[in-house]
């Protein structure tokens, strides 16, 4: 299968990329790592007239430590995040979720920015980014704006990033010393999440002092499991606490029904997986 013909440009700066996005080509797509877009082009589910390849923009790479914040360039690959000591230490939930994405070849090419803007509800990095209260920096012709992860995802495959904008970097408040776990449910080794649960929590003096829980594929966007978070905070990190929190995991969700399972099955999975994820997060 061969994509429909398109024009191609590979700018070397964010400013040039934004200029290219403002050109009068009929349908413009941004190419990041291409691990979702190229299959879509090959199947001709999309046929853009111009592809703006942001893979040569150096300022979009790199993982940096900015005091209380970890800053990840949008073009950072999954493999780079999985290997990063900074990510493992300060955003361990993201490091663990990244390891579950697709396969090693895809992780070598796929990028954090690409995954977030693609906004597949079954994508594994969206819920962790939401749970970690990240901020996303979006650049356009009028400069940059910063969007909270909670306001970034608007619907299935839809984010707040406009047609003439690109996501440049992701700012994650450090969660140093927090336990975490990403529990993903699939039927075969290499599959999109049927659902997944990301938990990160802090234990102080034998009590869970803070807890953040994100759900993958339990709605058209990633969502926080607020009821689970409330059920955890202030409690001892025991099996009892985990099962009480897990019991409310499906509250406020609106899971899809598809060939992998119906909505009720996903609600059931959310409870089971939340219990497992909380228990694992407590121990690391």
């Amino acid at each position: 299968m061969i994509p429909a013909a398109f024009d191609y440009t590979a700018p070397e700066s964010v400013a040039d990329a934004i200029t290219a996005l403002g050109s009068d080509s009929e349908e413009i797509k941004v190419l990041a790592g291409g691990q979702s877009l190229i299959p879509v082009l090959r199947l001709r589910l999309a046929a853009p007239t111009l592809l703006v390849d942001i893979g040569r923009i150096r300022e979009l790479g790199g993982i940096t430590d900015e005091g209380n914040t970890l800053v990840i360039g949008a073009m950072t690959t999954h493999a780079e995040m999985a290997d990063s000591e900074l990510v493992k230490e300060h955003a361990s939930l993201l490091a663990k979720a990244v390891e579950t994405v697709a396969d090693p070849q895809v992780r070598h090419r796929g990028t954090l920015g690409g995954a977030l803007v693609h906004a597949d509800p079954a994508g594994d990095l969206l819920a962790p980014i939401l749970a970690l209260d990240a901020e996303l920096v979006v650049a356009g012709a009028d400069g940059e704006r910063t969007v909270a992860a909670a306001d970034f995802f608007e619907d299935m495959f839809t984010t707040t990033v406009g047609e003439n904008e690109i996501l440049t970097r992701i700012r994650i408040p450090k969660h140093t010393g927090w336990g975490s776990h990403y529990e993903k449910f699939t039927r075969v080794a290499q599959q999109w999440s049927i659902i997944a649960v990301g938990v990160t929590l802090k234990v102080d003096g034998g009590v869970i002092s803070q807890a953040k829980v994100g759900l993958t594929n339990m709605s058209s966007t990633p969502i926080r499991a607020s009821a689970v978070e409330q059920a955890l905070v202030g409690q001892a990190p025991t099996a009892d606490t985990a099962s009480r929190a897990a019991a409310v995991a499906a509250e406020g969700t609106n899971p899809p029904t598809d060939t992998n399972g119906d909505a009720n099955y996903r609600r059931h999975l959310a409870k089971v997986l939340t219990g497992r994820a909380v228990q694992a997060a407590v121990s690391g």
Partner: protein, 167 residues
């Protein structure tokens, strides 16, 4: 048409390609490197795996223009003067193939796997090859071959990391 310059299996190429040309089609149809095969055309099977700057990629999911200025190693670049790469040798000795169609991708991904983790457990080999499908389901000997290559490498060059033949 876009002009690209790529180092493939140690040889510099400079070619005009359509931007929509997939790397695997450039390798096979423009360079004649048919050792890299198209298996599924859906990014699932990994048969088209090559090394791009020494990291494994599915060449059906990379545009040739994205590889401009970079270095590609295919299955055809592994043997040197007719002598098989140690991973090819291990596949040969362990009969790690049935129909052989997945073999080019399996060998390339196995090289990447040992590059990241020179002493994998059996489970780590299976996980490292999760992006490569063998429709004959001949995984047992493939896993055996990768473990044998890792062991042979440890004996011959302790501390060193295996890499592609042309790099």
């Amino acid at each position: 048409m876009t002009r690209i310059k790529i180092l493939v299996d140690g040889v510099d190429y400079s070619d005009d390609v359509e931007p929509r040309t997939l790397l695997v089609h450039y390798l096979r149809e423009q360079l004649g490197k048919t050792g890299t095969v198209v298996g599924c055309d859906t990014s699932n099977c990994g048969a088209c795996t090559v090394l791009l700057d020494n990291s494994s990629v599915k060449s059906c999911t990379v545009l040739a223009v994205q590889a401009n200025g970079h270095e590609v190693t295919t299955i055809e670049g592994l043997a040197i003067d007719g002598e098989l790469h140690p991973m090819q040798q291990a596949f040969h000795e362990n009969h790690a193939l049935q129909c052989g169609f997945c073999t080019p991708g399996m060998v390339m991904q196995s090289i990447d796997l040992l590059h990241d983790n020179p002493s994998p457990t059996e489970q780590e080999v299976r996980e490292g090859l999760e992006g490569n499908l063998c429709r004959c389901t001949g995984y047992q000997n493939i896993v055996k071959a990768v473990l044998a290559a890792a062991a042979a490498h440890r004996e011959s060059a302790p501390g060193a990391v295996p890499s592609g033949g042309s790099t």
